[in-house]
Structure formats: structure tokens, C-alpha cells
């Protein structure tokens, strides 16, 4: 690392892509998703533009025994539309979501991993719960129904690395492949590591993002216990917010060495320019503004960005009392006077909190901001909160040209991960 520059020189340096001594530039050349707003990226971005809400009454077995009955479930989900019988037996829903998103991303990138490229490519995905539906269904079988035999695929379905492994098999990715589990920051940690691996030359292409399918009786029941869930709506930054609403789905991206992407004439969606992670080392559930701020500032420094370069932040914005005010305090402190000029929205009011997959789904809003100049709104916003006094792009999408963006994720356990992107 070079010594920190100050004043005009630093500004000039930050305005240009940083010359990386021995480090490679990393770009995004493909994106895929499935979530409550749609089964692909165009449908999701359309919902972002319209400010459409994907949250509705939950629909699964024993939902009547839950006190929280709303969520952002993937609508019109029929696994048989995408997978054959044998695949459905082997893939938990979180793996199905990841595979579907990965196929879209790879198709968009136009990459073919046969031969040498496959050896230099890998996959790192985030998930918090892994195959939770599989756990749930099979516990029910042995405990509630009293059966003594379970299907032979239970373990390969439920393991947290199942999605990453199946993605590696689907495309022949024979380099680094693993899963990151840092609760609500899993996807951001995964994408940050993928970025670092390509930047340092450890891989040429990485499929990365995350997936979560926690909307089942046991998954929601567990969250109920913590008493942080809303029974009616997700209203990030609004004074009358009363908790988070869970979602499900996946986002997967193709991260690629810039030189490689340019040489093959790929359509570059955005450049990944910085990443930082920090730990609060403080409390298992209560967030710390200092910990969040260190991750934000770290990502700016890693990217060589000045605070005023950032036009938009996709917030963690869960809609809980604690997160939203802490996040606003962290952003206000990290950005100083520029905090009043940048836009920050939480898209969780639309797609729900996709837990280990949430940062990946939210990165789509960052790419939309950079590429289309459309800022996804914070819907459900009703009352100003003096503790969240930033421009949260309330209720309606906004046209604005932005050159650099951040995506925040702050997990239970005090684990923070912030990614910086810029327009190419």
C-alpha cells in the first residue's frame, strides 16, 4: 500500500481507476437472481423502478402456527419448471435458487469454462441457513411423524456448501470453491473474497453471491423467538418501523479479471473497486456504529475513493429500530457533510431480508444505479425519524447519475462487510 495522499493530489488520484501495482482490476460481467420480485434480473429491476413490494401472506405447511405470517416468498415457484425429478431430490431450495441465478449470470457473461479457464475459475457463495427446508422436513419426519428412516440425500442436500458445489459442477469450475456463513453479511463477505481472489491473481473468474431459503415453519419460528420481526410491513428508516420481514432467493454474479473481460469484448456491468470487513467484537445481536463505520471507511480506502465520490449506498436497512439508526449514525460519521448529499435506500422493503443472500440481491440495485442512473427507493416509508435523517429515497425511484456506490451489510454477531462499485 502506498502512503496516504492528502488534498488535491488525493482527489485527482481517486478520480482515476487506481493503478494497482501487481493487482488486477475486477469487473462484473454477468448477473442472475430469483427473489420475491421476480425470477430474473429484468423482472427484479422493473420492480425496483416501480417500487413494487414482494411481501405477502406466507404460504407453507403449518403457517397457521406462526405469529409472524408475512414474508417475501418467491412467487409462482415450481421447481419442476427448472429442474428434473432427480435434481429436485438432490437440491434443497437454496441450491435450486443459487443454480438458477448462476445459470442466468453465466449466460449473460457469455463465458465457457471448458479447458484452462475452468481451472482458473471458482465459486464462493454466502448462505446463513443452508438447506433449512431439508432440516425442517426431515426433523418433522423423525420427530413429529415418528418415522425411523430418512431419504439418503438428506446430508448432501442440507450442507451449507451444497449450492457452491453444485454450481462448480454445473459449470466445471475447478479452482477455489467454498461457502461463507456470516448471517446477514454472508453474500457481501463472499463477494468481497471473490473480488480479493481475482485482484490478487488467485483466480481469473469467480461466480459469487449468495442464496437463502429460510421461509419454512422452523425457519420463521426461530426468528419469531427473537421478537424483531414485523407482523405487518418492512418500513426501513421510517419512525414507525417495527421490525424486519424475511425474504428468500439468490443473487449470483460473474466477477472477472478486467483484462480478460476487455480482451473478449464482454459487456461490463460495473467494476468492483473496494471491499472491507470489520468485527464489532461487542454483542451477538446489537449492532455497533463504530464497527459499521470502520467497514464503510475501509471500503472507501480500499477503493481509493473519496467520500464525495459516492452517490448512492444500498443500505443494510433491515427496518429494525436498532439497525437503521445505527447504520445512519455510521454513514453520517463516515461521510461527514457529504452524508447529507448522498442517497441511501434499503430495498429490503421490496424483496425482504434475504439473510445470507441479501447482499447479492441488493448488489443489483447498485448496478442499476450505476448503469441506468435509477436509484431504487425505500418503499413503505411513512414518518421521518430524526435518528435516520438522511436522503433515503422514500417510496419512489429517482433518476440520478452516480459514479460510485457502496453496498452495506451488517450481520448478527457484529460482522460487517461493505463493497464498493464504480461505473465503467
Amino acid at each position: 500500500m502506498s502512503p496516504k495522499k492528502t488534498g488535491k493530489k488525493a482527489e485527482a488520484a481517486a478520480a482515476e481507476p487506481r493503478p494497482l501495482a501487481g493487482l488486477r482490476r475486477v469487473v462484473i460481467t454477468g448477473a442472475g437472481t430469483i427473489n420475491a420480485l421476480g425470477h430474473d434480473v429484468p423482472a427484479t429491476l422493473a420492480a425496483f423502478r416501480e417500487g413494487r413490494c414482494g411481501i405477502s401472506q406466507l404460504d407453507f405447511r403449518d403457517v397457521d402456527r406462526l405469529s409472524i405470517q408475512i414474508g417475501a416468498q418467491v412467487h409462482d415457484w415450481r421447481a419442476e419448471d427448472y429442474f428434473n425429478r432427480q435434481q429436485i431430490l438432490l437440491y434443497d431450495k437454496f441450491t435450486q435458487f443459487a443454480l438458477l441465478a448462476a445459470k442466468q449470470a453465466v449466460a449473460q457473461s457469455g463465458l465457457d469454462f471448458q479447458g484452462a479457464l475452468g481451472l482458473r475459475s471458482g465459486v464462493v457463495l454466502g448462505t446463513a441457513g443452508g438447506g433449512l427446508n431439508t432440516w425442517d422436513e426431515n426433523y418433522r419426519t423423525v420427530y413429529e411423524e415418528g418415522k425411523n428412516r430418512v431419504h439418503p440425500f438428506v446430508v448432501p442436500k442440507l450442507m451449507n456448501n451444497a449450492a457452491a458445489s453444485h454450481v462448480s459442477m454445473e459449470f466445471g469450475l475447478r479452482g477455489p470453491a467454498f461457502t461463507v456463513a456470516t448471517a446477514c453479511a454472508s453474500s457481501n463477505h463472499a463477494m468481497g473474497l471473490a473480488f480479493q481472489m481475482i485482484r490478487s491473481g488467485g483466480a481469473q473468474v469467480m461466480l459469487t453471491g449468495g442464496s437463502e431459503a429460510m421461509l419454512c415453519f422452523g425457519g420463521v419460528k426461530a426468528w419469531e423467538g427473537l421478537r424483531v420481526m414485523s407482523k405487518d410491513a418492512c418500513r426501513p428508516f421510517s419512525a414507525n418501523r417495527n421490525g424486519m420481514v424475511q425474504g428468500e432467493g439468490a443473487g449470483v454474479f460473474v466477477f472477472e479479471d478486467y483484462e480478460n473481460a476487455r480482451a473478449r469484448g464482454a459487456d461490463i456491468l460495473a467494476e468492483v473497486v473496494g471491499f472491507a470487513m470489520s468485527s464489532d467484537a461487542q454483542d451477538i445481536v446489537m449492532p455497533s456504529a463504530q464497527g459499521a463505520e470502520r467497514a464503510i471507511t475501509g471500503a472507501l480506502q480500499d477503493a481509493g475513493l473519496n467520500p464525495e465520490d459516492v452517490g448512492y449506498i444500498n443500505a443494510h436497512g433491515t427496518g429494525t429500530a436498532a439497525n437503521d439508526k445505527t447504520e445512519c449514525a455510521a454513514v453520517a460519521h463516515a461521510f461527514g457533510h457529504h452524508a447529507d448529499r448522498l442517497m441511501m435506500s434499503s430495498t429490503k422493503a421490496m424483496h425482504g431480508h434475504v439473510i445470507g443472500g441479501t447482499g447479492a440481491v441488493e448488489l443489483l440495485a447498485c448496478i442499476m444505479a450505476l448503469r441506468e442512473g435509477v436509484i431504487a427507493p425505500t418503499i413503505g416509508y411513512q414518518e421521518a425519524d430524526p435518528e435516520c435523517a438522511l436522503d433515503v429515497v422514500p417510496n419512489e425511484a429517482r433518476q440520478a447519475r452516480v459514479d460510485a456506490v457502496l453496498s452495506n451489510a451488517f450481520a448478527f454477531g457484529g460482522l460487517n462487510a461493505v463493497i464498493a462499485l464504480r461505473r465503467v
Binding site: 420481526m229 421490525g243 446489537m286
Partner: protein, 88 residues
């Protein structure tokens, strides 16, 4: 009956706060007793289990809850009400 409920609640909160029951009065707030947000949620769960009741409490808006958790006295009154409702 009511005294018994009070004693059972006090015992639960005392255990959570790692105090003796006689160190807790009606005026004690969860904060006075050193009970943090997670400890509060845990205490509410323990009270639900003890009395087989369902306590309406959302950690995001503790003030708006029908279940007033501001002091031991209000907690005891609210639990007594829920126990009476259950019996009715």
C-alpha cells in the same frame, strides 16, 4: 394466588439478573437490574413458559406494546392480567 405469581415472576427475573429476589422491588427497571435487550427477550420467554401465556412484545417498539416492561411492578401487573385472561 397473586402473591404466588409475584414470587414466581421475581424468581425468574432474579435468575436472569443474577440477583437475589429480595434485591428486586416494584420500582426496579430492567436497566437497573442490568438486563439488556437480549436478556429482556429471554426473560419474556421464561415468563411465557412459566405461566403458559403469550406475551405480545416486539423489541422494535417496546413502548407500543400492550405489555408494559418499564418496571417490575408493571411487568407483574401485565403477567397477572394475562394469567387471569387465560383462566377466564
Amino acid at each position: 394466588m397473586t402473591d404466588q405469581i409475584r414470587d414466581r415472576i421475581t424468581a425468574i427475573i432474579a435468575e436472569q439478573a443474577m440477583l437475589e429476589p429480595d434485591q428486586i422491588s416494584d420500582e426496579s427497571t430492567p436497566q437497573d437490574l442490568g438486563i439488556d435487550s437480549l436478556g429482556l427477550v429471554e426473560s419474556i420467554f421464561a415468563l411465557e413458559e412459566e405461566f403458559d401465556i403469550s406475551i405480545p412484545f416486539n423489541a422494535n417498539e417496546p413502548d407500543k406494546s400492550d405489555f408494559d416492561i418499564s418496571t417490575m411492578g408493571t411487568i407483574i401487573a401485565a403477567v397477572e392480567r394475562l394469567v387471569a385472561q387465560k383462566a377466564a
